[in-house]
């Protein structure tokens, strides 16, 4: 309301002397703004700590951030003045066709959609995801096609979808340098230089390379995702047919598999109760002093003491010292003997 004329009056020749800001300048302004938002957040946190206590600060970090952001923008953009970042780079908001300055209502909508809306959306998404996981557990009998479709949507979770959307948006920004935020794009609030820019030495160029890289990354991710989904489907089909075979052929197939597994396990374990295994270890050092039995999978700590792999792992996860000499032993430094 501070500048009623600018809200209504159109400037017929505005585009002739207001130049679009390009990506680097906008990013710079944004960085400055986020710095001051952070400062404001710190101060807000102190105030809350004084009045509501430390606990409130710890339980509502997101809310404080959103509040600080909204406060900062309300005190600058909403009142019609520039934010500190915009002042630093001398940018002003113009409408989509660069003929108007955005109205108060537009600016208010922007602030709300920029601060409060993402907060609620992310909370809502989290809730939806939780609920779906629950429903998934309860659901058992659905048609095959439906299940497959559901599985696909499950694989592309909402949070990820929003992430991808935002990434695409950033990539577009890097290409064209017009709208840094999604809400600004929707509301048509773009930046122009607040001063006269000489056309010849006006800073040109955006971050096209960065945009291209993001697009490439998204593309590769997408290809990978589709590939893995297809693989999974194939695997499921193979498993299903194998199951059918098993049922047809009877019991024989069922019993074979676990016995094979056991054999494999036995081969992989080194059991020192067998005197032929690692014969260079003398008899009186073949027992693990943790379980007092012959070692299985003997492992060496850095200090040179030997234990069963399982025993020493159990111990040094809680106390990273050798049980015998108290020298430091870290899980990642244990050396299994082969």
């Amino acid at each position: 309301m501070s500048e009623p004329e600018s809200d209504n009056v159109t400037f017929p020749a505005l585009e002739t002397y207001l130049t679009d800001a390009n990506a680097p300048v906008i990013v710079r302004a944004n960085q400055k703004d986020s710095y001051f938002e952070n400062v404001l957040r710190g101060k807000l946190q102190n105030v809350i700590q004084i009045f509501k206590g430390q606990r409130m600060v710890h339980t509502h970090p997101e809310e404080i951030t959103v509040g600080a952001k909204a406060l900062y923008l309300a005190l600058t953009t909403l009142l019609g003045s520039k934010t500190l970042g915009e002042e630093y780079t001398d940018l002003i908001y113009v409408s989509r066709n660069k003929k108007r300055i955005p109205k108060v209502l537009t600016r208010l909508t922007f602030i709300l959609s920029y601060t409060v809306l993402p907060y609620y959306i992310s909370r809502w998404l989290r809730r939806v995801q939780l609920r779906e996981e629950k429903e998934e557990d309860e659901k058992t009998a659905t048609s095959k096609v439906k299940r497959r479709l559901l599985g696909f949507f499950k694989a592309v979770s909402y949070v990820k979808a929003v992430d991808v959307l935002l990434n695409i948006h950033i990539a577009i920004f890097y290409f064209y340098g017009s709208y840094y935020n999604f809400s600004k794009r929707l509301l048509g609030m773009r930046y122009a230089y607040g001063h006269k820019v000489n056309e010849q030495n006006a800073p040109k160029g955006n971050y096209e390379l960065l945009g291209a890289l993001i697009m490439l990354q998204l593309f590769l991710k997408g290809v990978g995702k589709v590939d893995s989904v297809i693989q999974q489907e194939k695997l499921k089909q193979v498993n299903a047919s194998a199951e059918d075979d098993n049922n047809d052929e009877g019991d024989g197939v069922f019993y074979d598999a676990p016995i094979q597994d056991e054999d494999n396990q036995f081969e992989s374990a080194i059991d020192l109760s067998d005197p032929d295994v690692l014969p260079y270890i003398p008899e009186d050092s073949r027992k693990c002093m943790l379980c007092l039995s012959y070692m299985t999978n003997p492992s060496c700590a850095q200090c040179g003491h030997f234990f069963c792999w399982g025993c020493i792992l159990d111990w040094c996860r809680e106390n990273p010292h050798c049980p015998l000499c108290r020298q430091p032993v870290l899980e990642q430094h244990l050396l299994p003997l082969r």
Partner: protein, 183 residues
Amino acid sequence: MSEKRLLKELRTISKELVQEDSSLALNGVLVLEPVSEGDLFEWRARIRGPEGSCYANGIWDLHITVPSNYPTAPPTFRFVMSSERNARLASDSPTATRGRCLRMPHPNVNFETGEICLDILQQMWTPAWSLSSSVVAIVMLLDSPEPLSPLNIDLANLLKSGDQKGYDDLVKYYIERFTIAES
């Protein structure tokens, strides 16, 4: 893992207790066994005070609780301190056999609860210790008290002020006072 290890320890302990030159026998460990047959996680022990110290005349019972993640976590030792008010005291009937002592007068043992403060049974524990070596360590603690981390402040203060004779006599008095006659 803990049950397997406890079973092995039990086997070694029962062998050592009957051997005369084992560390258990030499250090005055008279009994070290599970409280009941089927449970390896509750043990009891009976020890005699070390020869040549003021504790030499006493016999004490210990209760041992083994945690389920033994030997990663240390077992808990506690002197059994029942307050048998009606018990016949050994000092009243000189002819009867001396039984166990109902209190442990020691700077590092809580006089009321029997709780023991010994670093190797707390933060300095390593699985290299076993039930038998821990009991031996407790017997040795009797002869070498650590007055700087006391649970019994009065006795610790006597030691800190250098009154060894007063300390010895007070300990002996307590042992006489609380030793019951075995029927």
